[in-house]
Symmetry: C2
Subunit: 412 residues, 2 copies
């Protein structure tokens, strides 16, 4: 049975961490100098592992197996949040490298085709999951035109700075792929709370959102009687609270919803506010639940509007992201590997956060593996996982990957 | 019967308006160059009217009658909001000047002692009602120390700039006063809605306030389950909505309450906020109502804290201002004058906004007279009143003032 090298894995993860290390965290946003340094370093590691390395025109790093036949793609993303944790996508990227190396070192698996990949800009400096979307034909010229980061830097300038302006871009159709495996830290508390060391992802939750715009009449808080008010704050509090009271009645077991942004204008304690904005975001693996949330929100909006105070208009805040389902066969391979290496210590589970696999599963079968996040913390300098969980996760992924490629070859 | 000069009154109001005029509004905050120009102009008008004029050490302008005996003080404030209306306190200041002139011109009233005044900084550039508070002994050295405006200008520097650093300050005890009359625009819609042209103020509402601090746990909006959340936003919406549902059950007829300021941190749509602040302000003429509001708020806070999500702490947002009651005898004099000049066209009413008379009534009898605000608008460039209402209000005030001083002389 294929066996990974835990020390080598941890060594490479720490070497990658050093590129952008800031305290216990990492600052390595897409296309930054540190990000491109890390991508060139990774291409060298792919070459050392016997893979044919290339950096494509949006910054994706691919290490292609020289073995014939359809290949299994394994990896994640090495860019970070503006102030990110050291593992996040880096974990899955180094897993991809280590899986390719481990398979190549074992006579039983050395002929299996496993490509390793690091996608670009999963963390949305310019465009969320830009690298995997570009690979899947989902990054159109229209979407790309005039893209800027929050500081006003143009994507075209960032590409030129990285020396990528004239570099060809990878496409899923360039090669015959069996599918894609992505490992990631959980970014939530469930594995730790349940005492499990491995999570096999069933689905990545879908996401919907609405923005509520409140229009009232700004007025003096002392001289304007309650009956005559059109108070944007009153309507906002009423709608937000009603959503929190009504959503549980139509929610799924693991539905979440959040109203973390609320703004009142002018926002002074002695002025009846004339304008307000409230943003709602909701997630579930079942699109029917997302539909029900949207319907309930519209019903509550109509109720607020019938009260005669400030009025409210509901608008979708973003294109809805549908739930993404992982391949059942791939899940079965990973589950068997998890049961081998961590018997009774793994869980099937949804992913509450979005990932590149949620894009790639539109063009090929995908699966994801999680390892526990200490305290459930992520997107924070404090993000961490235990070394033995890091090593175990890679071992499960390597065994699962070998078993998937062997099965695919058997079907041909 | 004493008769005011409407054209002279309107002419002086327009002359004062020109000092700081900006569009249809006025920008003349306390101690600004325009404010001090206006105060020196007013002192000259007081002198022209035969009054002994002085500007005191905090900028109050007093025109003292040369007639013997206790005097009735009549006036308001000539400083404005940062972007204020043209009438606001300026109306009552020019009323004071015109009342003194009109009484001096009538043989029947020329011996009555009426002093005219313009208080400083009613609008809280440095300290709300600073001028009247200083006059009443309610502006302590402790309150004065280290006072700055919102741009960081020190009061001491503003006083030096105005040439007032070494100027003595007026005190209520310097002279024997009968009381204080203040006229003002209503700043609300009631007179206009009720078709009345004069309001006689019974009480100035009291004001209480609380700040609610919400403490939760900031988290990822996708991976943190609802049951495990300590969401500051959820607790804030629940408390604010409960206050809006419960306060009407203990409110008075004209109680008002406002929660115009709410802040969530970090305030992003995809992050469960860990911190929130909500500010509540409530007003009523009955202190028992203010007490009930505070008790209900504390009960609702305890309910939120029993839910197990984010916790909330309630703190008083400012010293409570008790309701201020106008002198019943003065109200009677003003009501008779109103019935004489506007029979059936006046109302007794509370003041929902605070005024210098609410300070001065702590040391002497006070009364207030309102004229209608067009559309109820104030603290806005659009603030306005009809000329005939402006003239009528001054006539009622002059008749009422004469009658008060005559009655006081009769009692001596």
């Amino acid at each position: 049975m294929v066996s990974i090298n835990g020390e080598r894995l941890l060594g490479d993860l720490r070497a990658l961490r050093a590129m952008g290390a800031t305290g216990t965290g990492v600052v390595r946003p897409a296309f930054s100098e540190m990000d491109m340094t890390a991508r060139r370093w990774l291409a060298d590691r792919y070459s050392d592992a016997g893979l044919t390395a290339q950096i494509d025109g949006v910054g994706n790093v691919l290490g292609r197996s020289q073995n014939p036949g359809p290949a299994l793609l394994v990896g994640s993303h090495s860019d970070t949040q503006p102030t990110g944790g050291w593992l996040d996508g880096a974990l899955g990227v180094i897993y991809g490298l280590e899986v390719a190396r481990a398979l190549a070192e074992d006579p039983a698996t050395r002929d299996l085709a496993v490509d390793a990949i690091s996608w670009q800009d999963e963390e949305s400096r310019f465009y969320g999951c830009m690298g995997s979307r570009s690979f899947c034909g989902d990054f159109t010229a229209e979407a790309e035109a005039d893209l800027h980061d929050k500081d006003g830097v143009a994507l075209a300038d960032a590409l030129a700075q990285a020396g990528l302006s004239d570099t060809p871009r990878l496409a899923a159709g360039d090669h015959d792929y069996i599918g894609f495996l992505e490992a990631h830290i959980e970014q939530g508390p469930h594995l730790e709370q349940d005492g499990r060391r491995i999570g096999i992802v069933q689905s990545i939750v879908g996401l919907g959102g609405m923005v509520f715009i409140f229009s009232g009449q700004q007025n003096h808080a002392g001289t304007t009687m309650m009956a005559g008010r059109k108070d944007a704050a009153t309507a906002l509090y009423a709608l937000a609270n009603a959503i929190n009271e009504e959503f549980p009645k139509v929610a799924g077991d693991r539905s979440v919803w959040t109203m973390g942004r609320a703004v009142l204008t002018p926002g002074a304690p002695s002025i009846v506010p004339g304008h307000g904005e409230l943003e709602l975001q909701f997630r579930d693996v079942d699109p029917a639940v997302l539909d029900r949330f949207e319907a309930v929100a519209h019903r509550l909006v109509a109720e607020i509007n019938s009260r005669g105070g400030a009025t409210v208009e509901a608008k979708p805040s973003r294109v809805r992201i549908p739930p993404a389902h992982m391949d059942p066969g791939f899940q079965e391979h990973l589950s068997r590997a998890a049961e081998t290496h961590a018997p009774g210590n793994w869980n099937a589970m949804p992913s509450g956060a979005f990932h590149d696999a949620g894009v790639v599963c539109g063009v090929m079968p995908c699966a994801m593996l999680f390892i526990p996040s200490i305290g459930g913390i992520s997107h924070d300098f404090a993000e961490d996982s235990h070394d033995d969980d890091i090593v175990l996760g890679c071992q499960v992924l390597a065994s699962g990957a070998a078993s998937i490629v062997i099965a695919a070859a058997g079907r041909q």
